[in-house]
């Protein structure tokens, strides 16, 4: 059996405001294995981002347990690069914060940046880079501290369609070749199918697992190639029905 990186057991979470109490998730149970790419889809407002906050340990569950083995790296919708820092210093940020800012770690982060085409931009400021390059820099920043689990919160949704397809392929390649475990939140069914090994479908609020599918694309991990296969449209139809049914 593969090692489990993340495990939700019967998790419930309530939000409290002065006016009301909202039950965002209930009886939420699933797990993510090492090296796996899991995509989470669900009706809008079902608490997908809540799920990531729980996985990151930013929220504690009201009931049940969230177990994570190892560290995690969070990647957001926008790149959130610090405009006053160069790309190199942005990439170094998690090392500084996690007190891992040693010459070896810096060297490793830099070689990642060079390997994935940011070598010429290390001394640039984020405003000098295109949207796609910025999101790539954000991914390298997330990878710099070698997290065991990547938490991706709709990281492509702020990009225009053309750039999005390219950056998705890009990021997929990097995550696969670095052998990282990833949990992706998205509202885009086709993005989920083109990227993931397994797709988790959430119900509407209070969220729990409606379906958890293992996709059958075999060794095909290239998102653009996947989009051309017949399985792709079959999965799309199925997930569409499950989301709207």
């Amino acid at each position: 059996m593969k090692k489990q990186i993340l495990r939700f057991s019967d998790v419930a979470l309530s939000y409290h405001t002065v006016r009301e109490e909202t039950l965002a998730a209930e009886h939420l149970t699933f797990s993510v294995d090492e090296g796996e790419f899991v995509a989470v889809i669900g009706p809008s407002g079902c608490g997908k981002t809540t799920l990531l906050s729980l996985a990151a340990g930013l929220l504690s569950p009201s009931a049940g347990t969230v177990t994570r083995s190892g560290s995690c790296g969070y990647m957001l919708q926008k790149d959130e690069l610090f405009p006053w820092r160069t790309i190199e210093k942005n990439i170094r940020l998690p090392l500084e914060i996690k007190r891992m800012n040693t010459p070896e770690n810096r060297e490793r982060a830099l070689s990642l940046a060079v390997k994935y085409g940011l070598g010429d931009f290390l001394d640039c400021y984020p405003s000098q880079l295109s949207g796609g390059m910025r999101q790539r820099a954000a991914l390298i920043r997330t990878l710099a501290a070698e997290p065991d689990l990547l938490l991706l919160d709709e990281p492509f949704s702020a990009l225009d369609y053309q750039t999005r397809l390219n950056v998705t392929a890009d990021v997929s390649k990097i995550i696969r070749s670095e052998g990282k475990t990833a949990l992706l939140i998205t509202h885009d069914i086709s993005e989920a199918i083109s990227l993931a090994d397994r797709v988790l479908v959430l119900t509407k609020r209070p969220a729990h697992v409606a379906f958890f599918h293992a996709l059958d694309f075999g060794d095909c991990t290239d998102p653009l190639k996947r989009r051309e296969t017949s399985e792709f449209s079959r999965w799309f139809e199925l997930l569409w029905k499950e989301l709207n049914g």
């Binding site: 995690c72 969070y74 957001l76 959130e80 006053w84 940020l93 914060i97 405003s127 938490l151």
Partner: protein, 272 residues
Amino acid sequence: MKHLDRSQYSREHLGFLKKRRLHAALVWTLRLGLLVLLLGLWELITRLGWVDPFLTSSPSRIAATISGLYRDGSLFYHIGTTLWETLAGFAIAVVLGYAVALLLWWSETLRAVLEPYIVVLNALPKIALGPLIIIWFGTGSRAILFMTVLVGIIVAVMHMLSAFIATDKNKLLLLRSMGAGRLTILTKLVIPSSLPSFISMLKVNVGMAWIGSIMGEYIVSRAGLGYLIVYGGQVFKLDLVMSATAILCVLAAGMYFLVVLLEKALVKNTDD
């Protein structure tokens, strides 16, 4: 985007640059021209006797008054007094205001508790405290310094606090997901991202410091530019009033310019 070297610029681009330069030169010429024109007109209408220079003074009389002050050695004494009060008050207000804003950012409870007090202090015309200040601090520089700090500090606190609170929520989330504590968030994110607000606070406070020091000198003083203005008004020496005001204009502009220089040195990459 592809950027070209200077030598590769097209004729069109060179034309564009030339146009920009010409426009800048035109603006500067007109600015200086306007000043010369206004001073010239002022001088002219007093010379022609259209207005009474006893009431309006004139550029030549101002120049004569200033050189008179210079010859009897009191010019730099008065400038120095006011400048010291203004700069010291400015520095204290900025440093203390920044520190208080940090404290209020740190503790939400403290912020909630102190909010009404800050609002009232902000709305209160500080000059109302004049008599109290004289009784507490006497009639020397200390009273004026206190007034200057008082006028500037509330602005500094409110300006910086709102900048600290406006820190990007997603960047905060990012840092917290990396396990950053409050102190790390403060030094890595809140302080650097509020730098442009810090500069604009400095700019506002340059004005506040001059208001504070001159107001202070109006209430109590035996020296300084504010004292010259009040004294000049009381003995109907409008030349003295105008001279001190002209010097104030130059000094305030100079101080503002220094802040702009600081801005150019510090704020380079803040656009997202």
